[in-house]
């Protein structure tokens, strides 16, 4: 319908998830009005994405073979935080509460969608946990299961717990992040499952 280049940009934008043809059209008309340098910067940012791959160790996004976190010598390699997606790494990093390494599964178990343990990076996690360090002993001593507190995430955490326990390592501690009321939340508006978890997870003062 539109002049060639305008229609091309509309088509490309409409290919993005969650952007329909109407939004794509609106965005394309916005891009028609921006400076040429802005278009060039946008285009080169897209091309630079080609150089981004995944970390060999933790499968987070990485420019080289290791991500910034895995290649940081100040991080503690004995603690591994298992998350579903690279964006969850950023969420945990923002807390500034975690100094260990990550393991990105690439999703959560969801048999109905065909996401079985083989589709996630479970084998790679087991390999990391069983690998021995320079002193001949297993390097990883703590695994924090940090998948989402959703049905799929909980199932994934339960599955990983079983797998890790079946390794028979007494010196390995496996934990799960706490569920409860969000800070600033209100008892009145909390759903009963969350409030139940908050009660079950109470700690003495």
């Amino acid at each position: 319908m539109y002049e060639g280049p305008v229609q091309d940009v509309i088509d490309e934008l409409a290919r993005l998830p969650g952007i329909g043809p109407k939004s794509a059209q609106r965005l394309a008309f916005h891009l028609l009005k921006v400076e040429k340098t802005d278009l060039e910067r946008f285009a080169s940012a897209l091309l630079a994405l080609e150089s981004v791959g995944f970390c060999e160790r933790c499968h987070n996004v990485a420019e080289g073979s290791l991500c910034r976190i895995c290649s940081n010598p100040k991080r503690d390699p004995s603690v591994v935080c298992v998350v579903e997606e690279p964006r969850d790494v950023i969420a945990v990093e923002r807390t500034h509460e975690f100094a260990g390494l990550y393991h990105v599964l690439g999703g959560a178990l969801s048999p109905l969608d065909g996401i079985t343990p083989e589709r996630l990076r479970v084998r790679e996690l087991i390999r990391r946990v069983t690998a021995t360090g320079p002193d001949g002993r297993p390097e990883v001593r703590e695994v924090i299961l940090c998948t989402n507190p959703t049905v799929d995430g909980e199932a994934t955490a339960a599955y990983l717990l079983r797998e890790l326990q079946s390794l028979g390592r007494d010196d390995l501690s496996v934990s799960r992040i706490a569920s409860g009321l969000p800070v600033g939340g209100d008892l009145e508006y909390a759903d009963e499952v969350t409030l139940g978890r908050a009660l079950a997870g109470r700690h003495s003062l």
Copy 2:
């Protein structure tokens, strides 16, 4: 927060209207997974936008000095349909009911937002309407005011009607698109203003 190239794409996407940082992050992670050729096609589509300008005559988007409609000899130059934006041209074109030319105002009058007649292409419209053709007579004989049936669009149409009438051309017909119930609509759910317009604009059978 993210590796350089990922953050760059997030920043570029978040600069688009209606796309917040969370959506930009989601889209960037989608783009991380697509084929390299798809990224390259997207980037070159953006760069090709640089070649798109605006039609000298009607101010629609155009690759050359005239848009596809203005450069089509089969279109009737004596009828001009005045619209607010280039996307409205497409909307009218989709009806296949109009064979004349367009005039894109670039918006609608909105004094509160500082959109005065000087900010729109009103002067250019008047110039087109008063311009004489090869036979020495004014070429434009009909103007259809096709601005949106919103407060701003109606005010713009009223303003343009006054301006066009003040030209004192008896042979110029000026019309306004009809308001009424949309086809497939339901009287029960129509707002009273629309239904009132539909009644006022009734035609005998």
